[in-house]
Amino acid sequence: MSEAQLHTHVIRAGSVKENDEQLAGNTLLTDNLWRGAGLALVIILWQIGVNVGWINPFLMGSPVGIAGEAWRLIQSGQLLNDTIATVYATVVGFLAGSILGSICGLLLWFSRSVARIIDPFMVALNGLPKIALAPMIIIWFGSGMFSKIMLAFVATFVVALLSAYQGTHQIDRNLINLMRSLGASRREVFTKVVAPATLPWIISAFRLNIGFALIAEIGGEFISSDRGLGRMIFVAGNLFNLNVVWVGVIMLMIVAIVLYVIVSQVEKRLLPWEKGHK
């Protein structure tokens, strides 16, 4: 942007963005072409390696074998059922944990003393790998889906709580002073400043929590479960059926990506003012 433009006082949001978007569109297209080409190359080399005998398909699986197993699992409906089970437990636990955690973290703003008292417990819980709780949670809640929901919940709750609480501490003191000088009550300060100012922190916790929820849910399925992608991977792994393991892993990647995209879309909706920044 030139000096002259700056001196007109207005950064013409519209025009600048159009250019940016066009540019971004072009690079995105070429980037995606390169990505596709790279991936295809790896798959082709892998298959050639297997055919020629350089790669042991028993230990590594093979693209053709993976495609075959995938087709079989899709047709039998097992892949769909396992995916639904995993996605369901992950998403329910993730949403409950992240939303409740964020709300609790926000509410801690009202009471410094409560926050101070529970702080060390939260830090300790945050440092604990939540998967260590899996055996206990499975004993308490059984090997069905509910224990997986609880695992995802536990894994996401503390992260969301701490992130929201830290967010409330980063708020510019002057914004709160301004509200007070206008005669705002504490509740108004909370709804008009604290909550919206903390929203970016909450969203970033949601982003992190997708990964944490998946780790906890899959870990729980490894330990004890009757369905789900984790169980599918675990059982196939024990049988050295590497092609099925690959199908499960690829499916999990797809699930993670879809969840990320959803959170990003929600972010765009909830933080419209941050568009210009990123």
Partner: protein
């Protein structure tokens, strides 16, 4: 102590901008402030401030940075309790009724609110109905040429425009006293000159009483009826100058080129007793 006594004498018989006897909007009487926190030494920030500001006066406060100017503003806006002394705002206690509008160096626009919603903030807190406050805000935005930006977010505006929006937000609740804490210091020089002029004329037009904190001596002289010079921390009023150039000449720019401008500048500079380390000017 001597210095503040001298200041009290000067202001004992305020001449007022045009020699008219107006009533006081705010009176600070023997304000002291010491910050004390457990486990740390108490910091005495304000030794003694007594100041009387009349209706429609424009008073600037200049003083070394860190001397306690913002602390004084926070006390006037009743965001902080003074350790001692009393504040009378329009004859009443600032906490009941009389209102103070506050504008800082950083515009403090809420990034998550559109321009019009930012302008409406104070009205919203006062409980003005939505249709009514939008109408008022649109009127004001139109008046200052910002109507086209009503539905944009603050990050699409330049610094100067954001400060204009912040000013409108301050004015729209019609406060009795307006406090400006270094509102121009983040802006480039040209924008600053333009805004100085604009703000003085807007505030005069609205018959507002204003206290401006600035570290720019020239700005204080160009805009004010009176300039109060503060001492180092713990601070008190060292001297008060009756300037009134912009009121007399009708413009801040004219005030800057007036013959008396340099005289005021030199005396205030001497009062501030700024130590310059190295060769920097």
């Amino acid at each position: 102590m001597n210095a503040s006594m001298a200041a009290s004498v000067t202001q004992a018989a305020p001449r007022g901008a045009q020699g008219v006897q107006r009533h006081s909007v705010i009176t600070l009487d023997g304000i002291k402030k010491t910050f004390s926190s457990p486990g740390a030494d108490a910091i005495e920030v304000i030794e003694d401030i007594s100041l009387d500001i009349k209706q429609e006066e424009f008073v600037s406060i200049v003083g070394p940075s860190g001397c306690g100017k913002s602390t004084m503003f926070n006390i006037i806006a009743s965001l902080l309790e003074p350790s001692d002394g009393s504040i009378t705002l329009r004859g009443s206690d600032p906490k009941c009724g009389a209102r103070v509008g506050y504008m800082l160096q950083r515009d403090l626009l809420f990034p998550w609110r559109t321009i019009i919603d930012n302008v409406c903030l104070g009205l919203e807190i006062q409980g003005v109905r939505k249709a009514r406050r939008y109408e008022m805000a649109r009127d004001q935005l139109t008046r200052y040429g910002l109507a086209d930006f009503a539905d944009q977010y603050p990050n699409t505006l330049s610094g100067g425009m954001r400060q204009r929006v912040a000013l409108i937000r301050t004015l729209i609740t019609d406060p009795d006293l307006i406090l400006l804490d270094e509102p121009f210091s983040a802006l480039d020089y040209q924008t600053r000159l333009v805004l100085e002029e604009e703000i003085v004329s807007i505030l005069k037009e609205h018959h507002k009483t204003v206290v401006l904190i600035t570290h720019d001596i020239g700005e204080a002289i160009a805009m004010s009826d009176r300039v109060a010079v503060m001492t180092q921390r713990p601070t008190s009023v060292k001297k008060i100058y009756d300037v009134g150039l912009s009121r007399e000449l009708g413009s801040c720019l004219k005030a800057r080129s007036d013959a008396r401008y340099q005289g005021f500048f030199d005396s205030i500079w001497d009062d501030l007793d700024i130590q310059i380390a190295g060769g920097e000017s």
